[in-house]
Amino acid sequence: MSAPAKAKTIKGETGDWEIVIGMEVHAQVLSESKLFSGASTRFGADPNSQVSFVDAGFPGMLPVINEKCVEQAVRTGLGLKAQINMSSIFDRKNYFYPDLPQGYQISQYKNPIVGEGEVLIDLKDGETIPVGIERLHLEQDAGKSLHDQHPDSSYVDLNRSGIALMEIVTKPHMRSSEEAAAFLKKLRAIVRYLGTCDGNMDEGSMRADVNVSVCKIGGYEEFRRTGSFKTLGTRCEIKNVNSMRFIAQAVEYEARRQVDLIEGGGTVVQETRLFDSRAGETRSMRSKEEAHDYRYFPDPDLLPLELDPAWVEAIRASLPELPDEKKARFMALGLSAYDAAVLVSERETADYFEAMLAAGAEAKAAVNWLNNEYFGRLNKAGLAINDGPVSAKANADIVAMVAEGLISGKIAKDVLDIEWETRTGDPRAAIVEARGMKQVTDTGAIDAAIEAVIAANPDKVEEVKAKPKLAGWFVGQVMKQTGGKANPAAVNAALKVRLNLPDEG
């Protein structure tokens, strides 16, 4: 077990305080149709065009569960290393709101489909800490009320009504805004690897409620030791914080507010707050102040959700390699924890990196190249890795050319710039062409260069005979001798004959 998170303290007038953070994340399930109806989940359709009478709460309509949504919840639970509950119950959460057509949300209350699990979060310094998952449950999303269409009216669109959500609840195991953001980032990576949620925060596919409290130094340790919440402060829930950056801002602001409040003689009241991203502050949500009494009870239109253990095992067997496993594999290739974590944070990035390795690039050189050169260019251009102009093969070639000594690191950047513009997909050929260099395949010229290198390095000849893998050094030297014009394959072949090296098996 890893050590609990280190506290990031805030200074108050009466001493230091620690922040304690828990999160509730609503992640929209990737599925074609809704949780309990056959209407489409596609984003951005015309108002009320993707609504069944079930989603609109019409008389006599009944819910029928979508097997894909159950599967996605189980898949996510397995990805969170969590307990899968073979029997769970759908409950009704009753309240009135114009975008809640049935007058209740079908959710899971006492018996969720997924129980306790754990997510490892990766911090900037390369440290990894565990955050406990309390539960994951399935529920319906609400519709959308538009308040800016008319001065006196709100307009209700139910396209989103009934789409499946996974509500993922953490334990209060995060202790700084950085950790909170890192958690969300990691969770997002996991669900995207799993293909259970697209993680698109702009379209609201992932929405986080952040619970923040403060306590005196030691209070958290005591909580971890005893499991009792008594030593933690009263928490406030900040609703719908919809970007990583806002999460950090909201946490910082809210923790400071609570410390100031307590030190000024006040008490924190448990309430729901809203993060105003323009003002950079949290505010009490007046509309939510009315005491809620959701009157949960098991939905009589649905029977208990029973899972077949064999079905769950089949899902487990089909899980892809997840970020933590991929990260461990990358670290075994010599990458640092930090580099590996950055690469695996997006599945596409990890895939790109692996394509470079497959094209012959060396791992450490490849990650340095990406970190120092390519990612920066992508960022500047606002491009995602799969939309960038340079293929993994092309970047691998550039990295290999540097390793071969064919080009210098400085030239490599120029080659990248050229490739960025020209998109040839073959920078090796392109750079040779651009510099007016013709590759030498004339074996006479190559043989001459080989002889020169051998003559100058008799000791290396003995070494390479003992360790044929060192032939690469000779290739590099011969390339140098020919001013980079020799064809590396031809050099390789000639060297093998000259030094009497075995074929690679």
Binding site: P59, M61, P63, G103
Partner: protein, 496 residues
């Protein structure tokens, strides 16, 4: 062509055979019912009459029959409780709050009927949202029982909540009708109108498209003139429906065939807890007579115990309102139905639309349901009631170790006068005392007319079966029907 009175007094089975044999056309038959309904306005059995549409459906049936293509109910005119959503025909649940709601969809049960060729005469009156035992809570006014006592002209209730359907069947305004039964709403009105009412096993008929009252208790079923007609109707009404998660995945058997045959050796349980203080001696006597009839036909009578019977009614009055309070939250004046005038904000819109749109009994039950689910009361009421349901269901399971069907009274008395029980909700609730246990346990039950009171009002007996054993239930019901030989019909005082 037969005289119109002969047409409308046929049983469903007789009409089916007459149509098949070409002795009558569906148009003639349907026309006779449309006229009868027109003449029966004083009964207030229908909320919406759809005579024109009925005649069109009848013509289409006649064409299919001519081609030899008819379905199981081809050309047979039926009445539909106005709790079933019917595409293009106003559906009200007898509530102001549904306003002029016209469903753009059809309930599965009614779709099954139309697919089998049946003709819809109209939508029958009921207690508002099926909440009542006398059909007096309808926004469209009470239904009058076609029966009157032979010593009085007082208007009587037809029972509830399927009071309109019961009255329509009893007054020959349709061949058969659909009902729904949450605590007795098919069996109780059938009993007090001298007709047959069958509540199938929970899950036998789809609930899709039926305005929900209490989801774990609601079940659709037929209201008919004979046990055979109930078997015929159920065969078509029941189905396996992918649109209802609680509908049973069991093939629908041929009930008309299962109904046939002797009851020799059938074990009939008499639950001793159904002898209740204050129930008229006539009811007790009828019950004993019923047992004797079955014994005379070879059945074995066994006394059984259902120890938690007395808790069924209070259990029901927690569970049903709790579910109703949630089911009726969708009537909020936003997407369909009634909206209060000039709401000043959204809360005002909700509170006044619902305050003005729901009648007194519905409001009372929604408040009861809200209360028993609210924080601090859930365990004492709702959770406790759901445990009681388990105990009640277990009672039946052990009773059915000793017997195949149970025989009980259907109601604690005959039809009563309009307005005589509306002052005290508790007194009204007691009408369901014999029927409600069956809903709590999800079992099938049937009311069969068995005799008349001294002043000429019908009384029924109830039979209760094992889950999905409607076949045996119908066979036993047929035995009671034959022995009772109930041939009475109400005098047609309403169409003078």
């Amino acid at each position: 062509m037969a005289a119109s009175n002969d047409l409308i007094s046929m049983t469903l089975a007789q009409a089916r055979d007459a149509l098949r044999d070409g002795k009558v056309s569906s148009r003639e038959l349907t026309g006779a019912f449309v006229s009868a309904i027109e003449a029966a306005k004083p009964l207030n059995a229908f909320i919406t009459e759809s005579g024109e549409q009925a005649l069109k459906m009848a013509d289409a049936s006649d064409q299919r029959i001519a081609k030899g293509e008819g379905g199981a109910l081809e050309g047979l005119p039926l009445a539909i409780k106005d709790l079933f959503c019917t595409r293009g025909t106003r559906t009200t649940a007898a509530s102001k709050i549904l306003g002029e709601f016209v469903p753009p969809y059809e309930s599965t049960v009614t779709q099954n009927l139309w697919d089998a060729g049946a003709v819809m005469l109209g939508k029958t009156n009921l207690d508002e949202f099926a909440m009542g035992s006398s059909n007096e809570t309808s926004f469209f006014g009470p239904v009058f029982n076609p029966w009157r006592a032979n010593d009085s002209n007082a208007n009587l209730v037809p029972g509830g909540s399927s009071g309109g359907s019961a009255a329509a069947v009893a007054a020959d305004l349709c061949l058969a009708a659909t009902g729904t039964d949450t605590g007795g709403s098919i069996r109780q009105p059938a009993a007090v109108t001298g007709r047959v009412g069958l509540k199938p096993t929970y899950g036998r008929c789809s609930r899709f498209g039926i305005v929900a009252f209490a989801s774990s208790l609601d079940q659709a079923g037929p209201m008919t003139k004979t046990v055979r007609d109930a078997a015929i109707m159920l065969k078509t009404m029941a189905s396996v429906d992918a649109k209802d998660s609680t509908s049973a995945d069991l093939a629908v058997p041929d009930y008309e065939q299962l109904m046939e045959g002797s009851i020799k050796g059938l074990r009939v349980g008499i639950p001793k807890e159904y002898r209740i203080d204050g129930v008229p001696a006539e009811i007790d006597a009828l019950w004993t007579r019923g047992a004797d009839w079955l014994k005379a036909q070879g059945a074995e009578i066994v006394e059984v115990s259902l120890p938690h019977t007395k808790y069924a009614l209070p259990t029901y009055y927690i569970v049903a309102p709790a579910e109703a309070s949630s089911n009726l939250a969708r009537y909020d004046g936003v997407r369909f139905g009634y909206r209060a005038a000039d709401p000043k904000d959204i809360t005002d819109l909700y509170e006044r639309s619902r305050g003005e749109g729901f009648g007194a009994e519905v409001q009372r039950r929604v408040l009861i349901g809200t209360y028993v689910l609210s924080a601090g009361y859930y365990d004492a009421y709702y959770a406790k009631a759901q445990k009681l349901r388990t105990l009640i269901a277990r009672d039946f399971t052990s009773a059915f170790d000793q017997c195949d069907v149970l025989l009980t009274p259907a109601t604690p008395g005959p039809a009563f006068a309009i307005g005589s029980k509306t002052a005290d909700p508790l007194e009204m609730y007691l009408n369901d005392v014999f029927t409600v246990t069956v809903n709590l346990a999800g079992l099938p039950g049937i009311a069969v007319p068995a005799g008349l009171t001294a002043n000429g009002l019908p009384l029924g007996l109830q039979l209760i079966g094992k889950a999905f054993d409607e076949g045996t239930l119908l066979r036993a019901a047929r035995a009671v029907e034959e022995a009772a030989d109930f041939k009475h019909s109400p005098a047609k005082w309403w169409s003078v």
